[in-house]
Symmetry: C2
Subunit: 406 residues, 2 copies
């Protein structure tokens, strides 16, 4: 008998019929002999409905009261799912974050979990019940309701799995697993059977939005075995675990495409210390997040400096940089919104040399010019003209043998 | 500086605009120097929406989970009202029933309040905040959320007022007070300035549905001064208090009309002990509530027995009585749905003889035949043909000088 934590998102519990389908799935897992803890989100649309009510009264809404308000969304779902389970003859009991309790700090709207007391949950499980838990929420030391921020239900599930030492934490979504790349770009994209936490983190942050980054970090830290699978189908999904649990790591696990970036370049800067901080200081002060940063120093004592920001903040960032350049005296400040970032991710590249050059070679062979390069231990990213984005993904997906039939 | 508990029902907080109006009213009371505790219901329609979701999944819904679900309705309102107050610069803090805590027994869906810990509320008031409390809900000793049943928000307000020793408990509704009778029947009906708990109880149970009976009983028991007033106007409403606080009690405070009853009569019963329980036992076993009961024994050793039930349960009750009569051997069992109950209520009748005969005389003078009579210390009720209901109310309202200009 295993203890399994399942998590269903807003779409999976969005209607009465879907809640019934979740109940059927839970009943099935229980019939297979498992103990079940089920974490649910608010029904899709509910959080936005509540947010709109709040904003009509006070915008931005006071943080503590917003959490008291938003937490009702998941509380509705736990009551309904417990009822649906009981209707099928499955003994069930619901708990809010405060009832468990899931103790958090007092950072309303973006609280962090400090401690989970598993006593009540364990007692209910021992009594033969399915335990239904409100995701996304907790309670602070003073008894005020807190929320973990959007996507926090994944974190709740992983944290509960860690606290209860569950055998597996299953995240049900509207996709049937993690893919080697976006199937809309490459129809031959293949579902991955297994992937490491580190790869998943790189994939998620690069645009494969299956899981919240924070919950993957949490799972990695507490070694919780995660599984992403579809709440509408019956496949095994994708297992996310430690590298040791993956027998034969693939060279490359996936190719990702990020269309949300724009780049800004300082050309012909005087090559002296402090250039980077002089340029990026004012950008950070404006709360603009910077992704890639590349600096090249030429032999002539001048340097080129390029960084990328989210496309929505490009205009603001460019204006700031043009102002900064009054003191920098670069030859020119240029920007380009028509770029994309393409990355290959895989723990296998740690032990295999030559992956990067292979990547650059196949792109060059198809005439794709590389504008920026950035690498980490298990990831290589390039910035290219946006018109080559999908082509580059297809080339790399094929080159590294990721397609279904290979 | 007074401590005032205000309670606003679902209609008063039914939209964003109405919540803003409530916030304005609270701000005004605070500006007048009062400390404020505000109890609110779910936005109108919300409880029914949640009930419908529940019933679609499990009908009747399991009691504990239904309470977890329904309690979200008030939780939404407290968050929104606290935000609206903050938007006006009024420091506010919201509490659910569990956060206060309002401790109840574990009778889900119809819990009774056992204890209220006023510490958190008092601390927040001392810190200069308006305290916004979710009505209708509490928490049992095991930490499960409970609800007090429909209309329970009134009870929450009165119980809080008692626990905090508030100076006044104001119940805001969609009427501007308690009237001498239904103004739709008698346009000259007058708003009462003051009324005793006992009179209010008789008026409420007789069909003047302004306040929940239970909350009036609670107020009476703990001597909480109640005020019923409109959330849409500015009048002083009606004060509900002890007899000692009302300088000059009126002879009669009000006339009520109840159209929901039907009567069943056993004619010519053998006049022997046990008749009443033999007839009413099976009715009670079927969970049918009985209102008036009248028995007359004739000189011939036979008796007539009549009682009234809610019109919705008339058919069921009549069938039961016909079956019972197999052993009773009454001459006949008859029923009549076309009746109404008209009552006059007033603590003044305690000290004034002849009220009953005056009532019967004016009805007779207009040709209204009385079918049943029932009296209590401060109330006289008659059952008459429904076609005379409104006429009887007008006659009595005028006879006892209740109209506005008298």
């Amino acid at each position: 008998m295993s203890l399994i934590v399942q998590k269903y998102g807003g779409t999976s519990v969005g209607t009465v019929e879907r809640i019934q389908a979740v109940a059927a799935r839970v009943e099935q897992a229980r019939a297979a002999g498992h103990q079940l803890v089920v974490v649910v989100s608010a029904m899709s649309g509910e959080t936005d409905r509540l947010l709109n009510l709040a904003r009509a009264l006070n915008n931005p809404p006071p943080a503590r009261e917003l959490d008291a308000l938003l937490s009702t969304g998941e509380q509705v779902t736990i009551g309904l799912l417990a009822m649906a389970l009981e209707a099928r003859g499955v003994p069930a009991v619901s708990f809010t974050g405060a009832q468990i309790p899931i103790v958090t700090d007092s950072a309303f709207n973006k609280a962090r979990i400090l401690e989970i007391d598993g006593t009540r949950v364990s007692a209910a499980l021992a009594a033969g019940r399915v335990v239904v838990v409100a995701g996304f929420q907790g309670v602070d030391a003073g008894g005020s309701i807190t929320t973990l921020g959007r996507g926090g239900s994944d974190t709740t599930a992983v944290a509960l799995a860690a606290a209860l030492k569950a055998d597996e934490c299953q995240i049900y979504t509207d996709v049937d697993g993690v893919y080697t790349t976006d199937p809309r770009i490459v129809p031959e994209a293949r579902r991955l059977e297994r992937i490491t936490y580190e790869e998943m983190l790189e994939m998620a942050s690069l645009g494969a939005k299956v899981l919240q980054i924070r919950s993957v970090e949490f799972a990695s830290k507490y070694q919780v075995t995660l599984r992403v699978l579809s709440s509408f189908g019956d496949g095994p999904g994708t297992l996310i675990t430690t590298e040791e649990n993956i027998m034969e790591a693939a060279l490359i696990s996936g190719v990702t495409l990020n269309r949300d970036e724009a780049k800004i370049t300082f050309l012909g800067l005087p090559d002296r210390p402090g250039v980077a901080s002089t340029i990026l200081g004012p950008v950070a002060d404006a709360n603009i997040e910077v992704d890639m940063i590349v600096q090249n120093s030429g032999a002539d004592g001048s340097a080129d400096f390029t960084f990328t920001v989210h496309r929505n903040e490009y205009d603001k960032a460019l204006t700031i940089c043009q102002a900064t350049n009054g003191e920098m005296q670069a030859r020119a400040v240029q920007g380009d919104k028509r770029i994309v970032k393409v990355s290959i991710v895989g723990v296998g590249m740690r032990s295999h040399a030559g992956i990067a050059s292979r990547m650059f070679r196949v792109l060059a062979a198809e005439g794709v010019n590389i504008q920026m390069i950035s690498t980490s231990e298990i990831k290589i990213s390039v910035v290219i003209d946006e018109k080559y984005g999908e082509l580059a993904v297809r080339i790399l997906h094929s080159e590294f043998g990721l397609a279904r039939d290979e």
